[in-house]
Amino acid sequence: MGEIVEIFLSASFWAAVIRIASPLIFATMGELICERAGVLNLGIEGIMVVGAFAGWMTVYSGGGLWTGVMVAMLAGMLFGLLHGTLTVPFGLSQHVVGLGITLLATASAYFAYRLALPRVTTPPRIEAFQPFPIPILSDIPLIGPALFAQTPLTYLAFVLVGVVSFVLFRTPLGLALRAAGENPAAVAAQGLSVTALRMGAVMVGSGLMAVGGAFLTMSAFNSFFFEMVNGRGWICIALVVFGAWMPGKALLGAVLFGVFDALQIRLQQTSIGADIPYQIFLMMPFVLSILALVIMSRRAAIPAALMVPFNKGER
């Protein structure tokens, strides 16, 4: 028991929590924007892989770190454009298109990696984002090192939640987006283009997912390897539901997942970990996430027109 209390009181634990949560926050915000506009984007897992690769490759080829982030975002938006074109004007099944995008994007990233580095066995490392401690704030005990000694991308993730929240709930654009996901006919009746709104949302959302992927290669592992996204995209889909389509609550969910994940790594090293197969610990964040989802999402207000294509002039 004492060992667990000790874990919760260590600054390194909380720093790990925030580090684990950061990529999830980017991708969750991206998914949330898509879903608020009425499009379920199951391409998220593959788009994160593309972002991870594009960002890393840019830096590996000599580009700047922020250039890498931009390239990752553009690559994500490109796949978003494909996803949006198929699901919005063509109105194809969002499940099928999304899974197809995930397969295509993942395979494209791996293929490009092998083309670029045919003979590499150990993934090469890049000079990634370094922690940027904020003066004064980072000296606060426990909270300081956890929250204010992170990389710039992490700060950006937290700022992003505020921005998404503001845009969704305080600007005319956000109002139109939310209406497009609830009753697209209401948007069309005001002479706005549902297609443009949804396409835009899917593209921007996909761009953010890609940045979430880029975080992995540029701010966490510093190299690109296969299977590195490892289901994080699917977790983000669940986090959107967990957050009841609210950016703030989704952020909370991402941090909670970070807690579970950071905890399981540390638990493996405690005396409890000696007796239990480590796979149980690996499973823990997912099991706890499902439980939290069950509890939290019972009264969640799903956008009414999520996954419903809108065709103007249909009788």
Binding site: R170, T171, P172, L173, L175, A189, Q190
Partner: protein, 515 residues
Amino acid sequence: MRPEMGAQGPVLRLDGITKRFGALVANDAISVTLWPGEVIALLGENGAGKTTLMNILFGHYTADEGSVEVFGAPLPQGNPRAALAAGVGMVHQHFTLADNLTVLENVILGTQPLWGARLDMAGARAKLARLAEDFGLAVDPDARLGTLSVGERQRVEILKALYRDARILILDEPTAVLTPQQAEALFAALRKMVAQGLSIIFISHKLHEVMAIASRVVVLRHGKLVGEVAVADTNPGALAEMMVGARITPPELRAAAPGATLLELRTVSTPDRGTARGLRKVDLALREGTITGLAGVSGNGQGALADLIAGLEHLSGGEMLVHGAEPVTWSVAHALNAGIGRIPEDRHKTGTIADFSLTENAILERYRRPPFARRGWMDWGAARGFTDTVIRSYDVRCPGPETRIRLLSGGNMQKLILGRAMEGAPKIILANQPVRGLDIGAITFVQTQLLAARDQGAAVLLISEDLDEILTLSDIIHVISEGRLSPPFARGTMSAADLGRWMAGEGFERGQDAA
């Protein structure tokens, strides 16, 4: 700014509008002129082309031929923004409102530049309050739309048009969802708008409303304009004939011969299902040879009652007696075995399977039993024979029994459902909105069949939002409101206005609330 309104010029001129959907001509060279401060009614049966015409005016569709002029200036087609800017506002039949937004958010949607840095809520709030005050359309601006009643939603939809400074208001079947009293309140608001110089196009198929609100009536039939008369020069009978194109003979009514009680509910309650209200201590008796009418605004528990009788819902209190005994278990199969014939509320969703043939749909309720199935094998010959009988006896117009049912019109689909239920010789008939969306010919057919079944001793429960239908057909009338059921009223003892008061919740005992 809006163009200057000429003192005498028309506010709107539709000229030779033609619209085709494939082979169907939905609008055939229709011309209509609207003058300032005028209410015209656009009258016609379902499918006559009323909504299509208005959707062209509002820019949802583009006309194949013809032109639209608003305040003397041509209106570009297929562009709702242009229509809105020209001062055309539309109150859609299916409200274009988003449930997860507040009233205020719904109203201002699309009124502020999309790339504006911030929504101007304060200014919008003041303007909305002023409009609500001016026209007597009170509504809480911060209420989430999903929590509002249908009447309140309609007010929001109207306010939305007024907020955009509409000078021409189009209302598509606005009273379909209202009680008579709510409809009166709506008419009062409309009169205030007309007094302020707005012009209104009122789409309806209810004759007495048209007579009450409009000054001029334009009648459409099968996409053609078949008549245009001043209300002062016509009467409901003449309008109905113009609308249908033939004389209408209402179903013949014989005196009821009530017999034994076949189904009885005693202080029955059912659970609420999300927003769908359950029943609250309901007492009801369905007797042989009687049509029991259930009046009420939709969503007040009609669904729960219908589901309960059909075996889709269970009791949370009270008892239900079927043929004098309380069933041990109750399910759809039990309901069918107890001789309950069903005409479901939504013929598309629950009444039929769209891509199944007429034959498959006709035997849906009995496909596992002889003669349609023998020792586990389907007998399609028997099924087709049965379907042929239904098609012939119930006048289902179709290419043949193998046609997919989605290709049938609503009226013919309903006739097949009616035939399917009636051919099982049901003792209890559950008719939920049996004539909704049908043309007058099909309505008369369905109503005649229900009366015939009642004369042969069936107990019929007729659920309808149309008070005229309830008052014409029912021997006994109950009103349902918020899951509570009024006492039974005998034929001829209640007027539409009396029922309207009960529908609004007046007259119910307070004690019935506590369930």
